[in-house]
């Protein structure tokens, strides 16, 4: 019996969005009478934290703390159109729409504040804590609470904005395939270290070191959630998962979580995550979509590590103990 060790590397990029059908998302922002901000969308939170991120994006743009923003999303009677949550587009597309809407609302807010303070709107700035200050003369200020009250009850203004982000449809050119299917690209490089039991074909992923470049970590803890969970799913794809274990034979498809294999809490690789930020030109505060690409590089990195360990290539996913055993036997048979 031998436990053999190997390591492998993989590097990838990943596109944001799906422009081959046109890629729009809209957002509306308005202030309540006391200066809280309602973001209305129809984007879907799958658990990745879309609501929280839209709140932070709106808050940053308006200039208020995040807890002054309320997200009302995914009610088609109220929320304007969103293409959907997929293709790593949520943060990027909806975020841009929210910024545009929030900017318009902010402009109205500053105009009302300017009237109250009897200065030009262009001379005003927000302090991020809920106040509007005169640039260079911060003692001259008004709270956003008071500005909203004024807008509603005194000045008859709607502190609101409309946001629209559309990547126009790209039609692939028939002969050359020239097309623009997406916008900015995220990047990753993963090094995986494995142990392979050469008598059973069992693979243990010891460590994965993932470097991800995601444009901008809008909320680092939430980015970490995505990347850690994605890295786990990548390993899972590499070694465990399929609904058709004997593909293309259609039999023996798993029907529950006992038969559909994924790494359990006792199978976790020691996971390191390093994040780089090269802001994208068109992303909200430079953000790209990290949600999908984070699960990709582990698959080839693990595959390459298995080869490094035992000298057989498994070019069919998932890399099961059975496939490794068959390859090792074929190798031994020469």
């Amino acid at each position: 019996m031998a436990i053999r060790r190997g390591r492998g590397v993989a590097a990838i990029n990943y596109p944001t969005g799906m422009n081959l059908g046109g890629d729009p998302t809209q957002a509306l922002v308005h202030s309540t009478p006391t200066g809280n901000f309602m973001v209305t969308l129809s984007s879907v939170d799958l658990g990745q934290g879309m609501k929280q991120i839209m709140a932070q994006i709106c808050a940053e743009t308006i200039g208020v703390p995040t807890d002054r923003v309320i997200i009302d999303t995914a009610d088609t009677d109220t929320g304007p159109h969103c293409m959907g949550t997929f293709a790593s587009r949520g943060t990027h597309r909806a975020g841009n729409a929210v910024i545009q809407a929030a900017k318009e609302a902010r402009q109205v807010m500053l105009e009302v504040a300017a009237e109250e303070l009897e200065v030009n709107a262009s001379d005003l700035e927000t302090d991020g804590q809920g106040n509007i200050l005169v640039k260079g003369a911060p003692q001259k200020s008004i709270s956003i609470f008071d500005v909203a009250l004024s807008a509603h009850f005194k000045r008859g203004r709607s502190i609101s904005g409309r946001g629209m982000f559309l990547i126009p449809r790209s039609y692939p050119e028939k002969e050359t395939g020239a097309m623009k299917p997406s916008t900015c690209y995220a990047h990753a490089c993963t090094v995986a270290e494995v142990e392979v039991d050469d008598e059973t074909g069992e693979v243990t992923v010891l460590t994965v070191k993932n470097v991800f470049e995601i444009g901008r970590a809008l909320n680092p803890k939430m980015v970490e959630q995505q990347l850690v969970g994605g890295s786990w799913m990548g390993i899972s794809h590499a070694l465990y998962e399929t609904t058709e274990p004997y593909y293309p034979n259609r039999d023996y498809g798993g029907t529950d979580f006992n038969q559909y294999l994924m790494p359990g809490p006792g199978d976790l690789a020691k996971t390191e995550i390093i994040v780089l930020e090269r802001p994208s030109a068109d992303g909200p505060f430079g953000a790209k979509g990290p949600g999908e690409m984070c699960a990709n590089p582990q698959i080839p990195a693990v595959a390459n590590a298995v080869f490094d360990a035992v000298g057989v290539r498994i070019d069919t996913l998932p890399i099961t103990p059975e496939r490794i055993m068959r390859a090792l036997k074929a190798q031994a048979a020469g």
Binding site: M1, E199, T200, G201, E202, Y240, P245, Y246, Y252, G253, G254, N258, Q259, Y260, L261, M262, P263, G264, P265, G266, D267, P321, E322, M325
Partner: protein, 264 residues
């Protein structure tokens, strides 16, 4: 028709009710309630028994009796059943172990039924109202069995003579690629004087590895001496193919895992 549960205080009464068509016995629920949830409409009536003896554990000397409703969790935490704890803990996660019973495990199709593999290695006796049958006989006829199992009896093994291994892809709680239980008696010089080896997933229900058992007699537990036993470990097996592993793979790694268990 809806699903209806009937509760009886005695096994005798429940056995009567169980004769009706579409009726099944409810133990811990991990098999029959699941089947009902999944749309198995062949079951319209469930029967359960509250008789306390079904949940009793009795250990006296080596003689052990587990009531059919004893759960895996109860076995795993019972101080006198420490030798069986690894087999009991091999079943499911914590919640399942609080529900899954000794009786139910006897009926669990591969890849389930790890605890029964241990019982088979111990040559347990399965007890019903109709009498007592060796576990191997019981397993062979379990599909047609109608009488409620009330308990199981066996001689508690000494810890050093009994070994159990469950091989799973997912840790700590995957279902079995295979499971192995061995009960070996050895002479002072270490040679095996008697061997019982039970296998899970190597057929549609737990089975004995008779050829390997015979080949182990007179061997010391060294890699060299057990090699002939490992070579015949797969004799008579007919492993399941399922999403976890193919029959080919199970046969391929059975000798490896048996060898590791014997040499551990």
């Amino acid at each position: 028709m809806t699903l209806a549960l009937q509760t009886f205080s005695t096994v005798k009464d429940a056995n009567m009710a169980l004769q009706a068509a579409g009726t099944r016995y409810l133990g811990g629920g991990t098999l029959v309630v699941r089947a009902a949830n999944e749309g198995d409409v062949s079951v319209s009536s469930l029967v359960r028994v509250t008789e306390p003896s079904l949940s009793a554990i009795a250990v006296s000397g080596g003689e052990t009796r587990l009531g059919a409703s004893v759960t895996m969790a109860a076995i795993a935490r019972h101080p006198e059943l420490a030798a069986l704890a690894p087999a009991a803990r091999a079943v499911g996660g914590p919640a399942i172990r609080n529900m899954a019973t000794v009786g139910g495990n006897l009926f669990a199709p591969a890849p389930y039924g790890d605890f029964t593999v241990a019982m088979l290695a111990l040559d347990a006796i399965v007890v019903t109202e109709d009498g007592q049958v060796p576990i191997q006989t019981f397993l062979a006829g379990r599909d047609a069995s109608r009488a409620i199992v009330t308990g199981i009896t066996f001689v508690l093994p000494r810890a050093e003579s009994f070994r159990f291994l469950k091989v799973a892809r997912v840790k700590p709680k995957g279902v079995s690629v295979l499971s192995i239980a061995t009960l070996l008696q050895r002479a002072a010089d270490g040679t095996v004087t008697s061997a019982r080896i039970a296998l899970g997933c190597m057929a549609d229900r737990p089975m004995r590895a008779r050829a390997a058992e015979r080949a182990l007699l007179g061997c010391r537990l060294t890699a060299e001496e057990i090699a002939p036993a490992l070579a015949v470990a797969g004799e008579g097996t007919s492993p399941i193919t399922d999403p976890i592993a193919s029959a080919w793979y199970r046969n391929e790694v059975l000798p490896v895992h048996l060898g590791r268990l014997l040499l551990a």
